[in-house]
């Protein structure tokens, strides 16, 4: 059986400028931040990013890596508005395809099912239709004859997700309460990279419904302890609220210079030093 383990740098080496990249998690929850940080260390740019956005989007937008963003929101959760995303958007730094949360979800389902679209009762009557003039409607072929929005498939070149545990074959397990849409991101992508808190040899007596991500949809597995920091990765750890506040209040160049110049190990130790200074 194929051992798919790799380093964050190996993942990034397989990404190219101009790609469409899906990022799992939700808001400031279980984001594959270690992989995003590895991406920031590379020269990959001009990305179309598909994300239920959190600081993953904030970081990539601030660093000028996004050409186009597909999202329903960008938030830090405990701080509702993501400052770096906001600043980039207000200076017109990237194009936006703003979709409703449900349209986004059905777009993932469509892509995972190799369908061009799925019908949704969402978007009609809202300005989502005005700001996305490429969106089309579809009429039910049955007696009701209703008209729906045809949510377009969100097919992606690559997906990045983070889970609690994974094995070397690419099977991924989540231990928190919400799977978010990580399995769909993997199935909607031509290649998918799963980072995890800890690599395991097997899942033992795990409840099978926690085994969210199946290896056939996974290209690479990366062990990145604390790899979702500063987002939450329940139950392994909560969101680092003190650091979220610091991130939101710190000018981008200062934040990047202190935390993003070294490798992942360097990032984790810089965070530790920062916390010690706060005591």
């Amino acid at each position: 059986m194929t051992d798919k383990t790799m380093a964050p740098e190996d993942v990034v080496a397989r990404l190219r400028s101009g790609m469409t990249l899906g990022i799992g998690g939700w808001g400031a929850r279980r984001k594959p931040m270690a992989l995003v940080r590895a991406l920031l260390r590379s020269d990959v740019t001009d990305l179309t990013v598909i994300s239920y956005g959190g600081p993953d989007v904030g970081l990539l937008a601030a660093a000028g890596r996004i050409r186009k963003l597909v999202t329903a929101f960008v938030t830090l959760d405990s701080i509702p508005l993501e400052p770096h995303f906001r600043a980039a958007r207000q200076r017109g730094a990237f194009a936006l395809r703003e979709l409703d949360e449900a349209m986004f979800m059905w777009g993932l389902h469509a892509a995972a099912n190799r369908l061009p679209f799925l019908p949704v009762r969402a978007g009609l009557g809202s300005d989502v239709m005005r700001v996305n003039p490429e969106l089309r409607t579809v009429t039910s072929p049955y007696e009701d004859g209703e008209t729906f929005v045809a949510a377009p498939a969100l097919r992606m070149d690559a997906a990045l997700v983070h889970v609690n545990r994974a094995d070397r074959l690419g099977n991924g397990q989540y231990l928190g309460h919400d799977p978010y849409f990580d399995d769909l991101f993997c199935e909607a992508a031509d290649s998918a990279y799963v980072s995890c808190e800890r690599l395991v040899e097997d899942f033992g007596a795990a409840a099978p419904q926690t085994l969210l991500i199946k290896r056939h949809a996974v290209t690479g597995v990366v062990e990145t302890p604390h790899g979702a920091h500063f987002t939450s990765c329940a139950p392994d750890y909560d969101r680092d609220e003190a650091f979220v506040k610091f991130y939101a209040a710190t000018p981008w160049p200062e934040f990047a210079a202190r935390f993003l110049h070294g490798d992942e190990k360097g990032y984790q130790s810089a965070v530790q030093t920062w916390h010690e200074e706060q005591r």
Binding site: W26, G53, T71, A72, F73, V74, T75, P80, L81, F85, R86, R89, Q90, G92, E98, L99, D100, E101, A102, M103, M105, V120, R121, A122, G123, L124, G125, S126, D127, V128, R130, V131, E146, T147, F148, G176, H177, D178, P179, Y180, F181
Partner: protein, 242 residues
Amino acid sequence: MTSRAEYAVLACADAWRDDGEVLASPMGAVPSIGARLAKRTFSPDLLLTDGEALLVGLDGRAEGWLPYRQHLAMVTGGKRHVMMGASQLDRFGNQNISCIGDWERPTRQLLGVRGAPANSLNNPTSYWVPRHSRRVFVERVDMVCGVGYDSAAAAGPSATRYHRIPRVVSNLGVFDFATPDHSMRLASVHPGVTVEEVLDATGFELARPDAVPYTREPTAEELRLIREVIDPQGLRDREVPA
């Protein structure tokens, strides 16, 4: 003496009256306290969430699993009544939480449309505004996220089929759309507020009955529940100062 925040809690709670066995999705402190008050008193069948992926009883114990993907199905299944916030709201109940200014190049980027387009077409969607002003109650919203009555009508039967905005609650009063053209109507003012005050703080012509009633008084038991059981820390007063 009942505080302004307590009248607002009461008005929010009443939004879920007679809703039956549906999910109450409150956004903001005052609506959250209102939803729990409704469940503890006149709407015991309501479902509540922990704000994450669980359905919980009043004691906080889990009674069900509701991850985002199932929550979105609850929206389209209609077994939910959400009370959302609004950065802008207009006379037909169009709501904006996405951005201020021109969408192409906004002066202030906000959250994004989130689930408002689907919410407003599929399950009853009420709104909560903690600071009633002309900046929020505008003639026309900059970006229609939650769909108002005029926008739904223009979009056709698929949009209007399950569309309903039961009420808007602010720190000044309660509003509904019980007018022939579904334009916003001042249904009640909270005691201590004048009708003129509401009109001054609203950026559009507000329909109103000849005599505007006051928001109802709480029962002694409702006040006790709010003050001693549901919100002893006084989160309501931080959202709506006296």
